[in-house]
Structure formats: C-alpha cells, structure tokens
C-alpha cells in the first residue's frame, strides 16, 4: 500500500486526505503507556541524566576527585549553596544524589552569585568593576566563567555525553509532533520542579480503552493537536487513575489475570502541568527542585565550565520554543511554573521601584516556595539574556 502511493498520485492524495482528516488519532491508553516508557527508558537516562551528571562531576563542583589529578593547580570552590540537600529530605548525609554519584548538586544560580554574574555581564546597565573581596566571595558562592578558563574545564571533562544528549534533545523536539510527548519532555527538562527519583507514587491501573459518552461506549482516542489547556483537562482522569466515566471499575476480583499498566513519571509530570500552583506544589510532596533544568541553564549561562555546551543549549531552547509554537500558556506553565509571568511582573515592578531608591537587591528570601518559582522565572530569562549578550556574530550573520 505504502509504495503504491508513489506510483499513483491520486491514491497518494487520497491517503494524505485520510491521514490528515481521519487518522491523526491514537489510542489514549497506548499513548499513555508509550509516553511513560519513553520517559523512563529514553528521556531521563539518555538525555536528562548525562546533562545532570556532567554538571555534578565537573571540577568546579569540587566533589569528584578523579577529575583533578591532571590539573592540581585548579582550586575548587570551597563551598556553595547546596540547595539540593535543603530541599530534598531524601538525600542522605553523605551527599549521594539521585544521579547515583557521590557528589552533591550545586545550585548553579545562587542568588548572590547570579546577581553578581548579571552585574558583571552588564545586564543591569552599569559596568561593574569586581574588586578582590568580591572575587573571594565568588569563589565561595559558585564558580563563574571569569574565574576558570575554558582550557581547564573542557579538556579535562569529556563533554561527549552531554553534547550527545543535547543533540538528541534537539532532534526529539524538532521531529516529534505529538503535543502530549512534547509537553511532558519539556516539563521534565524545564519545569522548576521535578519528580523525585525514588519514593514517588506509583500508579497501577488496567489498560482502559473505552469511555462512556452519552450512554454510548466509545474508544478513548488522542488527537495529536492539543494545546496545553486541553491536555490539562485530559490529564485530570490520568492523574486520578480512574476516569469518571470509565468502565474500568467493572472489573472484579477474578480479573486479576489481566495485566496492569504501571505509571510512575507521567502522573507526577501531569500533576506538575495541571497544578503548577504554589499552593499545591510543595517540595516535600514527591517533588524536588529540577536538577536537569539547572544543568541546562548552566549550559546556557556558560558557567560551571559548561561554556562548550552553550551553543547546543541555545539550539535546544530554540527547538523547545518552536515545538510549542511560542504558546503563552505553555511557556507560563512549563518554563516558569504556573503564574510565573505574574511573579516576574511583580518582581520587575519591585525592581523598578527599588532602582529608583538606589537599591539593587531585587531577590527575595530563598526559602519561600513562591519566591522560588519567581526566581526560577528570573534565572531562566537571565540565562537567556546572558547567552544572548555574550553571543558573537559569525560570518553568516547568525549568533553563536
């Protein structure tokens, strides 16, 4: 049939017609299982984890000694704000993290470090001359591109895995057209929060292929063209495990031989997409701060020795924006958490006011979850700005 369309243009048109109007649907249950499988077997281990591990193992983080033996003159930062241990009560005292490495995750954008980084980059308007005392503080807070040279970091570190991960991510975002998958992948990578790697809730349910509408049984199908709002509506039944009109409840005890679907990541991501509200998202409820987002923003910002990954990171963000067609709601929900824009606007107003007063302290307390979401919005935008301001125009006229 397939090859036939090439030989017969009318048949090909006919096929296209059917393809466009009729066949762009998938079985919901099949898609749910496939997306869960994709997240568990491909997205997290092959794309997200290499980014995170690269950030953790980098010499700037000063925890993995095996990277230092060739360049002992590099002085790792003495300390940094270890937000992971604060936020994640599951992390053990030895500093073992979810990636399985012994190092602790360093928050790549501590507020003091970020403000100074922004000040140094000129984003705040004035050229700031960093004095020696500030340099000492910088070393304590976090590594910055100014303190370590590219030679020291990139030659020692093998950056092939994160590069491959970013290339794979870009390919995924450019190739896949199914919105459900795109939203889940972007949420896993860009949302300020992430599912805990252990101890999270596991949802078990029998595959449900039918629903009852208007007293008629019909098959549950997915349409590929979903906006974020429609997806959020669909996710309600998925998160609860049992649909409202589902005949799934008709199964009795003697149906135990039937296989069950197991969902772990998708329900949490669905919860984040659906209830990104600060009142419902708490760091102790199976969620943690997103280390993958931090890794990608580090790449964007070019700090922590991830300068060599910046170009690919910019492409990845570009692909992400194209994948969701710049949909405002999706950007608010995924990139900033819910109400992210409002938080930004509020803080921007505060910034303007404080600037008038001659004060530049625009950052609020780190412990507050709402402020956390707020600052996450700012750090994302500032990272983009940072990558933009440090870009150079190549001969083709494009920014690099």
């Amino acid at each position: 049939m397939v090859r036939n369309e090439h030989s017969n243009p009318y048949a090909f048109l006919f096929y296209l017609y059917l393809n466009v109007f009729v066949l762009k649907v998938g079985l919901t249950s099949l898609n749910e299982q496939t997306v869960e499988m994709m997240l568990a077997t491909f997205i997290y281990p092959s794309i997200l984890q290499p980014l995170k591990v690269h950030l953790q193992r980098h010499p700037y983080n000063g925890k993995d000694e095996c990277f230092y033996h060739e360049s002992k003159n590099i002085v790792p930062p003495a300390s940094s704000i270890e937000s992971e241990t604060e936020s994640n009560p599951n992390a053990n005292e030895k500093g073992a993290n979810d990636g399985g490495t012994t190092s602790k995750v360093i928050f790549p954008f501590p507020f003091k470090g970020l403000s100074k980084s922004l000040a140094q980059s000129g984003l705040l308007g004035d050229v700031v001359v960093v004095d020696s005392e500030e340099n000492v503080e910088d070393e304590k807070d976090a590594a910055s591109p100014q303190t370590f040279s590219k030679e020291h970091s990139d030659i020692i570190m093998d950056n092939s895995p994160p590069k491959a991960a970013l290339i794979a991510l870009i390919t995924v975002l450019f190739t896949l057209k199914n919105r459900r998958v795109i939203y889940f992948v972007l949420t896993a990578l860009f949302h300020p929060l992430a599912p805990n790697s252990s101890g999270g809730s596991i949802l078990k349910q029998k595959p449900n292929v039918m629903k009852i509408e208007n007293k008629e049984v019909c098959i549950q199908v997915d349409h590929s063209e979903l906006d974020i709002g429609k997806l959020q509506d669909l996710l309600t039944s998925f998160m609860d495990g049992v649909g409202n009109n589902s005949p799934r409840n008709d199964f009795k005890e003697n149906d135990k031989k039937q296989e069950e679907c197991i969902f772990s990541l998708s329900p949490t991501l669905a919860k984040m997409l659906k209830h990104g509200d600060k009142s419902k998202v708490q760091t102790g409820s199976g969620l943690r701060k997103n280390p993958y987002r931090e890794a990608l923003l580090s790449c964007l910002n070019g700090n922590s020795g991830m300068l060599s990954l910046r170009k690919l990171a910019v492409f990845a963000v570009d692909a992400a924006m194209l994948a969701i067609d710049g949909e405002r709601d999706a950007i608010n929900t995924i990139f900033f958490g819910e109400n992210g824009v409002k938080n930004i606007e509020a803080s921007t107003g505060k910034e303007d006011q404080s600037s008038l007063d001659g004060k530049t302290d625009i950052f609020l307390s780190e412990n507050d979850v709402s402020v956390y979401l707020n600052t996450k919005s700012i750090e994302f935008i500032s990272s983009l700005c940072s990558s933009l301001t440090t870009a150079s125009v190549c001969s083709t006229g494009k920014f690099l």
Partner: protein
Amino acid sequence: MFYSRRKQLQKASPTPIEEFRAAVSRIHALLKSTKASYEATRSESSKTPNPTTGARFIPMASAIEEEFIELIRRISELVVTGERYAANHWNSGVFEKISADSAKKNGDQDQQDKEKLQNHLAVFEYFCERNVLGLIVNIITGVAFSKPMDFNDADTVSTSSSKLSELSDMDENKKEEEDEILLLPPLSIATQGVQSVSILIQNVSRATSLYFLLSNQRINELIDFQLDQYLDAMRSSQKNQTSSSSAEMAELDTYFITFLKSLAMRMNAETLQFFLRYPDTDLEKKNDLVRNLEVEFPLYARTLQFCSPYQDSFVRITAMNICLNTIRLSTVITNPSDEENDEKEALDHLTTFQNEETKDDSDNNDESESPKENDIKESTPDNTGTDKENAERTSPTQSSSKLDKIKYSSPDGTLVNVDLPTRERLAIAHHVCTPSRVQAFASPIFIKLTHLCGDLIEALHDLNDLDIEIGEQDEKDNNTQRKKITSFIESIVADLQNELMFLDDLLEVCMCVVYK
C-alpha cells in the same frame, strides 16, 4: 491450413485444469520419491549416530529442487489466473449470457469461451477439493516430509484436509515412538512456498475464494510457524558459515513478513472472524462487554516478533506497518458527524477530480478483457498492497457512492477504508493496549534510540580526541578523519530522526515514516 495449425496448437497445449492436475500430481510424486530416497539413505547410515531431535534439511538434488520451485510457482499462478478470469466473467454476466445464447447461436467462439471459463473455474474448484493450499503449507513447515503420507496417484487418493488430519492423527502415536526430527525443504522451496501463498491471498478476487483461503487452518499453522527451525536446520547442516545461506534466510524472513502483510491487508468487518479468536464464553457472560473484549490475535502476536530492533530494516518497518494498520482498525471513526460530512464532501471532490483525469485512460481499456498472467501481483516486497491501486484503476468512473460501496463490500486490500463494528474495534483496542504487547511494540524503538545515543557519544568522543591530538598528526589526515566522523554523526542523527518518526507514527496510529 492456418486453421488446422491453430487446432493442432490448441490440442498440443494443455488446458489450465489439465496443467494444474499434472502439477499437483507431480508434486505428490516428487514428495514421495524424496521421502523414499531419504528413508533409504537413513537406513544405510543407521549405524552411524545421528541426531534424533531438531530440524534438518531433507537431502534433495538441485534438479528436483528447481522442479519443486517451478511447480509451486506455476500452481499459484494458475489458481490466481483462473480465479480472476472466472471472477471477471462472473461479475460481468458473461457466463449467463454464454449459457443462454449458446443454445441459439451455437457458434464456435462462444463454445470456446464457455469451455475456457469452465476450465478456469475448475482450477480453483480442484485447488479447494484437493486442499493444495494445505499441501504447500505442509511443504513449507516440513510436515509433508516428516510425517508419513499417502503419495499414491493424486487422482485416486484423497488428500483433502480431513484426510490429512486423519493421517496426522493416526501417526501421532507412532510419532512419539519414532525420533522427532523435523525435515524441512531447502530454503529456496520454502521461500517460493511462502511467496505463492502470499500471491494467492493478495490476488483472489471473489470474496468466497478469500474466505476459503482464510478459513483454512493451514494458514494459521503457517502464521505460527517459527522460522528459527530453518536456522536450526542450517546449523545442523553446517551451512551456516556461508553468507549465501544467511542471505537466503533473510529472503525467507522478507517473504514471510510480506505474507503477514498480505493477510493484514485483507482484514475488514467480514474477514475479521478469521483473524480473531474469541474464547469460549458462557451464555451468562455473553452480554458482559468487558469480558468479551478478551480475544486472541495470532497475526498481531506473530507480527510483534518481527518488530525487534535487530531485525532487518525492511522486515521491521513492514511489521510495524502491519501493527499500526491493525491498531488503526480500532481508531477509524464510525459514527457519521458533521466533521465526517465535510470529509465526505472533500472525498467526493477528490474522487470526481480523479475520475475526470482517468476517464481517457479507462475508455481505452477493454473491461471484459481477461486478466493476463503478467497482471498478477507478485508477492514481492515492492508491490505489496497494490490492491488499492488496482481497485481504483478498475473503477475509474465510480462515484463516491461506489466508494462507500467499496468501503462495506468484500475485502479489497484497502485498509484505509475498513470500518469495523464497535465490539470488534473495542476488542482490537483492548488487545493491542495490553501492557506486554505495548512493550513488545514500543520498546524496540527506545532500545534503538538508546543505541543511537551511545553511538553518538562515541562519535563525539572521537571528534574530541581529534581536537586534542591536533598538531601531532598530519593536518590532511586530520581533516579526512574529521569529515568521516562528521558524516557518521550526520547519519546517526538521521537514524535518530527515523526512529522518532516511528514513535510519532505509533502515537498517531498512522504510517507516514516511509513517505518522509
């Protein structure tokens, strides 16, 4: 002079039914002689220890092998030609016309046409009566060589399916006593056999003919037949070292998946009963919708085995195509709605446009022309599913109502038009959404993606090494090496994209990847 010469030629060339009978008889004779020679060889070498289990190729002279192949090919060709000829004339009413007019006119031409038609009809009848399909399948699966069969004169001995099953039942007791060697034909014969069965399934025109083929239990046996048996036979015959044998095995895989696809393309509301097996249900539970969703689907289960990432690319794509087409059966919208009416209007428009364009071509064609042997769609990987094209070619002046008729009429191999009852759709959806089946279908994609990511890391690592070693090597060599690695990375990314397109197709239950 010319007339007498023509008569002589006609007398010399056998009629299709005669040729068909001769071919079937010859196959039986060849089977008998091959089996006898094997038994003789075996008794001579009985002193030497031989393996008593597993699969082995039956020894066969190359001339006999070639004759086998030609006979199987010719049989399927004759059946399809005869069936299609009969179908064309039957549908156009020629048969009745000939019968009615022949008494009045009694012309030679009409009489010849009638005889020709009866000859063609007789071929398919003989094919059914002697269960030749079962014979071909038995040859492929090795049953014809392994089990003792009565190979007397084909005209006098009945080898119908009932007889065969009786024989096999009788021999079951003996089988336990004897050794359990499965004797298989050479790969070339098996390949031709599978191809012939595919041709038969793809090309029969009449619904009754198709029902006969699909209802034959031997088809299910062929679906379930494990091709690994041939690999075992290759190992035991120590031919596995040669590359030609592995190529033949790959060819058999290719034709086998094509056979599965030819079956899948024949699925519709009428034929689905041959593909789905409903478990025995009590009368009380008959109305239990959820329980009735439990079905067995041998074709889908067998196809899933070919979705492995280690399969040949063509085999894997075809297997995924079959699976997606099967899943799509459950997602096609059945209830008419406003949206569908719009679609129908678009379809009408498209059909009208198509009709106008093809009108000239259709005028030149003689519709009553008998199908030539060359018209038979060979079951090669390149033209599977050409029924759709054929259906559209043979009905160029049909309106959209005709298309609707096609939609609900006998199977025509156009799966896109298939529309099933809700219960069957639900049963298929329930079957394919079982977690183990979803895993068997989707996990190969992710395995492949993970492997490609690993390859990408290695390639990038090599590129990094090249950067570090710059200056130590010759710059020219370095550039050459860099180009090689870069092109390799590009090919990996292309493969990544292909796999992701598969995934996209899976999520949307359609097959677009081949076009892209």
